[in-house]
Assembly symmetry: C2
Homo-oligomer: 412 residues x 2
């Protein structure tokens, strides 16, 4: 007898992060697969890195709020300052800078890192989330932005979203800086002013805060410049509509020129689904000459909310395709032999060891969303013939072990 | 002009963790895919969880050394004790305990978590590694051990390893405890004695340490009990040879009965590739009644070393299958159209925007291990005919856009 522990531990996960039980994991895998498939279809190759980074990596360019208030940073046992990465761009810049001379540009790289921010968990924001990151390094021309936005658009389409359900917004951070400078805002204040503008739609007292910071009323009349016009035209030819938004700023200080975001138009999901832009100077923090770069990120938490809103998530089914049910322990060996035959033919098969009633066992398998069952008992062992039964249709197909390699799985 | 930064940051990763450039990432993906494919073929379904866990989760059963000396533990900004998970078993036990009443047993679950240990990086041991974890919950009988070891064996085979290259060792931790108790070792010392025995092959002064701890010479004459004999017989019928090793102990305190490990026989790789066993009582730390459980873990660092030793890693090729080369900027639109046609037919195609010479561009694509190229210039636009060229064989196939959907990719 096990004595029930009195000082029992909680079964809750750490605050603001998620446990992925199999049905949730299937949704994550669905999202990751669309990301991987679409990024690879455009010629992006996958890279990866550890979540542990030296803290100094984020001090240079990520923006003060992120480093000071929102990171998981600590000292390791060797007294090094370590941070759980809050975003992937500094890591990819570090990796590119590290092999600057060996790598052949342009590079198209993608990754699906998990990222950490210490903040109050809320809809669309958790302490850990996964993010698709796509980056091109080594292309100066507007074709990099065209490709990036086309790729982002294609991801939205591959998730089943319709053009009228989302909006792509662009701006130029360079133009924003130029305009603010022309309005007489001192250069040393411009970074703070842009960070404030970035939060415009989230702040109720934006106008007051803006006046307090700049001494001026908020007014932005950017004239979309040539580069932005050209981007709008090129994408329009591919039937991708983008809208110029003069107050779009992005929270990261490293962006140098065009920035873009994609929003769900449904007010239930007010956070950006994608955000990205050009950051041509980030490699200089590693003492490397500049490499032009354009990239974006897209998070799993926000897209999952959107797919739920529009009922676009696929129904769960098990990766296990067949459950083999030995009628009793006497048939375990035979059941294992049958399972092995399926496995050798790339069909996932589980053996259900159990002394419960057959009806209960089938009910459990059905609940697990395994599509097919096959019972192994005396009759089957004698005749070497098995009935493969589809639980949803009750359709049965008689097979021998030799037939397994011939089954065209979709047709039975 | 960018001014080169004088306070430049290092491009090194944090100590003891890895950057995965695309060619390294391809190897990781190869290993993960064999893991996923084999685990799923046996009917295991994937789950996941965050790397962040409450520190107390590891205090109960993981073993003192791991919690006190080897974890990454810190206080978060809300004064909670957090640990980067050093192993997955406590997490999966927490998740199972959390839904104990909803879940239908037996469960077969797998995951590929990254795990963290603060220790001196060395061959086969890093501060972060990935590990396949497979667990069955809810099976008391020996069929659980038979299945687990069969699965582990099948993974070795699917990596291309031969029977004579590795060894599967088993022992019973229950039997070990019983034997030590019979030798008169006091109950409160047994956990420490087992931890010492677990390190037997790594310690030069094992005999001295053992005598200091127990006051006795080291001697173990376990008689393999019935359960172990039955396991050896059942696996032998499947042509899987396992060896009884009375000093096999495993480092975790939660194992209750049979434990097993797999070793490469090549002395270049002395660390266990797999380790696992039965842990029937772990759920009691959450105040839940016991659920019988058997599980194992297999790390990416050690298996990669072994696959390199035996030259079993596949050659790198890009996930990008075709590079489309517009002859000049005038042909970007047309090249994008062609690329789009490939993508729509599940072929990964990159557009090579470049003003370099065609020869240099082809050399770069070849170096990236992209298999095919297709040039788009005046002639091609006029005739609507394109030459798809395989770089390795120089073989060319003439195609129109309409042909792309008909191409049987393996045959060209």
């Amino acid at each position: 007898m096990t004595e029930i522990n009195k000082n029992k531990l909680s079964t809750d996960s750490y605050k603001g992060v998620r446990d992925f039980y199999p049905e949730d994991m299937a949704i994550e895998n669905y999202i990751f697969n669309i990301w991987k498939k679409t990024a690879e279809s455009f010629g992006y190759v996958e890279y990866g890195a550890s979540i542990l980074e030296p803290t100094e990596l984020y001090k240079a360019k990520s923006g003060d709020e992120i480093v000071n208030d929102q990171t998981y940073s600590f000292k390791d046992r060797g007294d090094r300052d370590v941070t759980l990465r809050p975003e992937m761009t500094p890591t990819v810049a570090r990796m590119v800078a590290g092999k600057r001379r060996e790598l052949k540009f342009p590079l198209r790289w993608y990754s699906i890192p998990n990222l950490f921010r210490y903040e109050r968990p809320q809809r669309g924001r958790l302490r850990e989330h996964f993010q698709l990151n796509c980056d091109i390094f080594g292309l100066e021309g507007i074709e990099a932005e065209v490709e990036m936005i086309t790729l982002a658009y294609q991801i939205m389409k591959n998730f089943g979203l319709k053009d009228e359900q989302f909006e792509i917004k662009i701006n130029s951070r360079g133009l924003l800086i130029e305009t603010l400078a022309k309005q007489g805002i001192p250069l040393e204040k411009i970074t703070d002013v842009i960070r404030l503008i970035d939060k415009k739609n989230k702040l109720k007292d934006f106008d007051e805060q803006y006046k307090a910071l700049t001494g001026k009323e908020f007014e932005l009349n950017l004239l979309a410049n040539l580069k932005i016009n050209s981007l709008i035209t090129k994408l329009s030819k591919k039937n991708i509509q983008i809208n110029f938004d003069s107050s779009l700023a992005r929270g990261f200080d490293y962006y140098t020129d065009i920035v873009f975001e994609i929003y769900d138009k449904n007010p239930a999901n007010p956070r950006a689904l994608f955000g990205g832009g050009r950051y041509d100077n980030l490699l200089d923090i590693f003492g490397e000459e500049k490499v032009p770069a354009v990239g974006f990120g897209m998070g799993d938490v926000t897209i999952r909310d959107v797919l739920e809103t529009y009922n676009l998530l696929p129904e769960y089914k098990s990766t296990t395709q067949v459950a083999i049910l030995p009628f009793s322990a006497d048939f375990y060996d035979e059941a294992e032999k049958v399972a092995n035959e399926f496995r050798g033919n790339n069909i996932n098969a589980v053996v259900d060891y159990s002394d419960k009633k057959i009806g209960d066992r089938i009910a459990k398998i059905d609940k697990e969303k395994i599509a097919y069952i096959l019972i192994v008992g005396e009759e089957e062992v004698k005749t070497k013939t098995y009935k493969l039964k589809q639980l949803s249709t009750k359709k049965e197909t008689e097979i021998s072990l030799n037939d397994i390699k011939k089954i065209i799985w979709k047709n039975i």
